[in-house]
């Protein structure tokens, strides 16, 4: 899955980069080309003007050999193919290529066509119209420029082939230059640009890939891994994503969600444990009671009959006593498994706490345990079965007393109200819960046992109690839609926390 996102991103980035770089390269190259041609045009025109001005004097003095000399010298320069001068009839009168001299050039050729295509030949022409690009006889791309030679007063006075005054254009200077150097430059430029473009594409793609990988994919990978671990059953995995962006927030929410999921699962497991235990208990209890009857009646009967035989009496007494103990265990099993319908009414739990305290008061006094009741005044009412809540409290107090032993200590019972967010309704909405905390300064519960203390039949009190008290308490609290939790430190003490939802505001005391 990670692969697919990367590939998609890289493909998208590549496409964008390729398109933009290509467009950029295209425009760059075209303008480069235009620039180069314009340069050639300019220098050609300048050369052509230079030739005109440098041969003018010699033309006026009718010294064709000098003109020819000048032209030949110039023509030999690198970058110039041919220099020709036409007269107005199209006859080549001077040229750096001797073979051209005397040849007639057709008016329809490209160089002549520019002016002669109109009805009357044009007399002036802008520079751009005077240029042409063509393929020379040798197959080389060539640039050509014509420059009209204008009649001047001095020309009509000359002794040679004097021109009449009314002639505007006496002839045309034509210069051709090969473009191979220019073309080479252009191609080199193109190659450079292409290389750059490819490198840019590769570099940008890689960078994008690494950035995406680091900023987005790594954290997402962690989240994916975490969800896989959770699917495999390890609910205690926490994510380590500390960035402050949305992904960091995702990680945070994820952790919070995991915490709540783990809690909910614990509650569910406990609840399932208890209900299946309950069903089992009821079945077993009923089945056992009948054979127990047999044992108990006969053994008690024999006990009565063993009047004088003290030893026999003692032995039989053990049987009777232990069978009666079985009876008690079964009875508490039945109590535990009974799905008793709680009679819920709005009650003030502070009162119930006081009642529970009164019940265990004597026992606590004997153990020299002090009880500190810190009950919040005006505590909201809760919908509850008074007897059952009392049973839970008595159980917790008795446990606290047992943990404290006989050397004195303090049991603190506190009530207050806490707010907890409503999970279904998003931010802001929260519920009020009544919280009851029973704390003791007793021996504490080791960490490994904390998960088991609410299990039926789990007890650390040897030969005392059935181990069902906390399981029953947990069941009662759960039936009241509350929560029962424990926190403990060995050697320091234990605190049981009961959370019960506040009664609706419509309730009356």
């Amino acid at each position: 899955m990670r692969g697919r996102i990367s590939y998609k991103l890289i493909a998208a980035t590549c496409a964008v980069v390729i398109v933009s770089v290509s467009v950029f390269a295209y425009f760059l190259l075209s303008s480069h080309q235009r620039q180069l041609i314009a340069d050639v045009e300019r220098s050609a025109n300048q050369l052509s003007e230079t030739i005109k001005s440098s041969t003018r004097y010699d033309m006026l003095l009718n010294r064709p050999e000098s003109v020819h000399q000048i032209i030949s010298t110039i023509g030999k320069q690198e970058g110039i193919e041919k220099v020709r001068i036409f007269n107005k009839e199209g006859e080549v009168i001077l040229s750096t290529d001797a073979r051209d001299i005397g040849r007639l050039v057709d008016k329809e050729t490209e160089e002549c066509d520019r002016c002669h295509s109109a009805d009357r030949p044009l007399e002036t022409l802008p520079v751009s119209e005077r240029t042409r690009i063509f393929e020379s006889a040798a197959g080389v791309r060539t640039f050509g420029i014509i420059n009209p030679i204008y009649n001047e007063p001095g020309c009509s006075n000359g002794g040679c082939h004097a021109h009449s005054e009314d002639q505007k254009v006496l002839g045309v200077l034509d210069i051709t230059m090969p473009l191979d150097a220019v073309d080479r430059d252009l191609r080199a430029g193109q190659m450079r640009l292409l290389t750059f473009a490819v490198l840019a594409i590769v570099a940008i793609s890689l960078m994008t890939y690494w950035l995406v990988e680091y900023i987005v994919l790594k954290p997402i990978g962690k989240i994916v891994e975490a969800t896989q671990k959770i699917a495999a059953g390890d609910l205690n995995h926490t994510l380590e994503i500390r960035t402050r962006d949305e992904i960091g927030k995702l990680g945070e929410s994820f952790n919070v969600m995991m915490g709540e999921l783990a809690d909910a699962q614990r509650q569910l497991i406990q609840s399932n444990k208890l209900s299946s235990m309950g069903r089992l208990a009821a079945g077993v209890a009923h089945e056992i009671n009948n054979p127990l009857t047999g044992v108990l009646t006969y053994s008690s009967f024999l006990l009565k009959k063993a009047d004088e035989d003290d030893e026999l009496k003692e032995d039989l007494n053990v049987i009777v006593r232990e069978t009666i103990r079985c009876r008690d265990i079964v009875k508490s099993l039945l109590d535990f498994s009974r799905q008793s319908v709680s009679e819920k009414r709005p009650i003030q739990v502070n009162e119930t706490i006081q009642n529970a305290y009164r019940i265990v008061q004597n026992q606590l006094a004997i153990q020299k345990i002090r009880v500190d009741l810190q009950l919040q005044e005006d505590l909201p009412l809760i919908e509850a079965d008074k007897n059952q809540i009392q049973q839970v409290l008595v159980n917790l107090l008795v446990n606290a007393a047992d943990a404290t032993g006989d050397d004195g200590g303090v049991i603190t019972v506190r009530t207050d109200v806490v707010e907890r967010p409503k999970p279904d309704e998003g931010h802001g909405a929260s519920d009020e819960w009544v919280r009851i905390r029973v704390s003791d300064t007793g021996c504490g519960i080791p960490k490994e046992q904390l998960g088991k203390i609410f299990d039926p039949f789990f007890t650390t009190k040897v030969a005392k109690g059935t181990g069902l008290g906390l399981a029953i308490a947990w069941g009662i609290v759960e039936k009241h839609n509350g929560e029962l939790e424990v926190a403990s430190e060995v050697g320091k003490g234990t605190t049981f926390t009961i959370l019960l939802p506040k009664a609706d505001s419509m309730a009356w005391a």
């Binding site: 209890a285 009923h286 089945e287 009671n289 009948n290 054979p291 127990l292 009857t293 047999g294 044992v295 108990l296 009646t297 006969y298 008690s300 009967f301 009565k304 009777v320 069978t323 009666i324 079985c326 009876r327 079964v330 009875k331 039945l334 009974r338 009679e343 009642n355 009164r358 019940i359 008061q361 004597n362 008074k386 007897n387």
Partner: protein, 254 residues
Amino acid sequence: MSENPRILVIDDEPVVLDSAKRILNAEGFSVVVASDGESALRILESEAVDIVISDLMLPGISGIEFMEKVQRQDPNLVVMITTGYSTLENGIAALRKGAFEFLPKPFTFEELLSPVMRAARYLALPLSDRVKLPNAEASGCYTLGMESWARVEEDGSGLLGFTQLFLVSIDRIESIDFPDVGGEIRQGGRLVRCTTADELPHDVWSPLSGRVLEINEDVARRAEVSGETPQSRRWLVRVLPADLEKELLNLNPG
């Protein structure tokens, strides 16, 4: 004790029939057994039986239905209900429907014997007394079965005690086990246990649930209750009722 009451024990568990028979025979009672409602009815038709001890759950018919049926046929029959589902609700319901006693299993042999002896004494009473005595208490009282009563005082507390009938059906009381003041008792649970001269324990089932406010010191001290004393002095325990309204529905008005 002059008569020799004939007892019919009905239970689908053989061990229960065996132990009941053994115990009761040893005390001189004649016992006949049945393992279901049908055979029990047949026995009742053909033989004279004075006391029936029946399990709450019989194959095919509930113990209570059976009880109502036979009591209709013979109102003088004493019927006791026993059960392995020793829940308080079952006991209370049986007593309200007219069972003489409720016997939760498992029971010791004395716990079996105690109600049987009481039943025997009860059967020895003249017929007129049998009907009158449970109602001897003044009106305003509610009874649970034949043995205990409850009366609600003006201050909201409940007075609980045992009936005259109970008293005359047991031997002289030697001691009474009371619940602790401040302790909780449940409707259908044990109110007090009386130990009599014949060394039998007799449990009185409590008509109400609640917190024990006071016990009758007189009775506790002297452990002797004369049949002549006015009923108001024969209360045993005063409680703060936990759920008066609902629980009164389980009792019979006196």
